[in-house]
């Protein structure tokens, strides 16, 4: 299963529809501080079923934050949006998806969140649960918890973790 394309709208600072084509090899992402590079990477983690707002730098419920922190909050000249939506296109020609979707050449995984009503997931326009999306990616050796997604400032965290916390890495690799 290959990653082909990521499309975002209303996700953090990407208020306008944005498309990132994911090609083989090394794709560099550059730009000044605060322009949205880490936001773009977080859209990928989010659509793969991330359930923790803190992992996406959202505030804790105690401080009034939560998963809705990913919805475009507005700027000095634009109003806030009411929803965020991210779609990840996967190439399934190698036929590795779970049975329910394995007949299709391409899978479009979509996650959408609306203020006040939580997140919905769809695969090829059919409603699915968060668990289904998480399993789809876990079976493909990736997903929101994959050690191959290294967030900013977190590279040394693997080293600073306790031995029992690192065990999880081995289980994922087994």
């Amino acid at each position: 299963m290959q990653f082909e394309r990521l499309r975002l709208v209303g996700f953090k600072s990407f208020v306008e529809p944005t498309e990132l084509v994911i090609l083989p090899g090394l794709t560099g992402i550059v730009g000044p501080n605060g322009c949205g590079k880490s936001n773009l990477l977080e859209a990928l983690r989010w659509v793969m079923g991330e359930s923790s707002a803190r992992a996406l730098r959202g505030g804790s419920p105690a401080s009034g934050g939560g998963m809705e922190d990913v919805i475009f909050a507005g700027t000095a000249t634009r109003p806030a949006r009411s929803f965020a939506e991210v779609t990840l296109t996967l190439d399934n020609r190698a036929r590795r998806a779970p049975a329910a979707f394995n007949g299709e050449d391409r899978l479009e995984v979509t996650r959408r969140i609306e203020r006040g009503s939580g997140s919905d997931y769809r695969i090829n326009a059919r409603d699915v649960r968060q668990r289904d999306v998480q399993m789809l990616f876990a079976d493909a050796a990736t997903g929101a918890q994959s050690p191959a997604l290294v967030s900013q400032g977190r590279v040394a965290a693997i080293i600073a973790a306790r031995p029992d916390e690192r065990r999880q890495l081995l289980e994922d690799a087994a």
């Binding site: 090609l23 560099g28 550059v30 590079k37 773009l40 700027t75 590279v155 081995l170 087994a174």
Partner: protein, 161 residues
């Protein structure tokens, strides 16, 4: 399950030793299962010795040495179970130029020998030059991000903005 875990451990450990030496240009490193006789309960310990130094607790390694050791471990996990996507957000920030070059050589080698697609956020010119393609993120309008495709010269302008 126990046999599978031990097999994965052996594969990751072998890859980790090899990748550590290629990133540090020498030295020695290894993984160990600790705190329990039963591999299903044990913790994963990382031991690392940069070239010419004595093995000490990981916390005494420098910022750059810890980053390189962590990168070697992430790529070792990859080798034993290749992931379709790898995302690295400014992992080269603590590295000096000599280590950024070693990191880029390893990255290019991983891109050639696996099907993994890499998204690499960086401010470092050496890393930018090693990429197959570059996307710039700009805020033409304050607070609103846009994605544009750029070449190396374009990327330098973006950063000097």
């Amino acid at each position: 399950a126990r046999a599978r875990l031990l097999e994965a451990f052996a594969a990751v450990d072998r890859a980790f030793r090899e990748l550590f030496q290629s990133l540090f240009g020498g030295g020695a490193a290894e993984l160990a299962l600790v705190d329990s006789e039963d591999p299903l309960e044990a913790g994963l310990e990382v031991r690392a010795e940069p070239p010419g130094k004595r093995l000490q607790s990981l916390s005494l390694l420098s910022g750059g040495e810890q980053a390189l050791t962590a990168i070697a471990l992430v790529f070792a996990l990859f080798r034993s179970r290749p992931a379709p996507i790898c995302v690295l957000d400014e992992v080269d920030a603590p590295l000096d130029d000599a280590n950024v070059e070693r990191f880029c050589r390893l990255l290019a080698h991983m891109a050639e020998t696996t099907d993994t697609r890499f998204l690499v956020v960086t401010h470092n010119m050496i890393s930018m030059a090693a990429m197959h393609r570059l996307f710039g993120v700009t805020m033409g309008e304050p607070g609103v991000s846009q994605l544009v495709s750029v070449d190396l010269a374009g990327a330098e302008d973006l950063l000097a903005a």
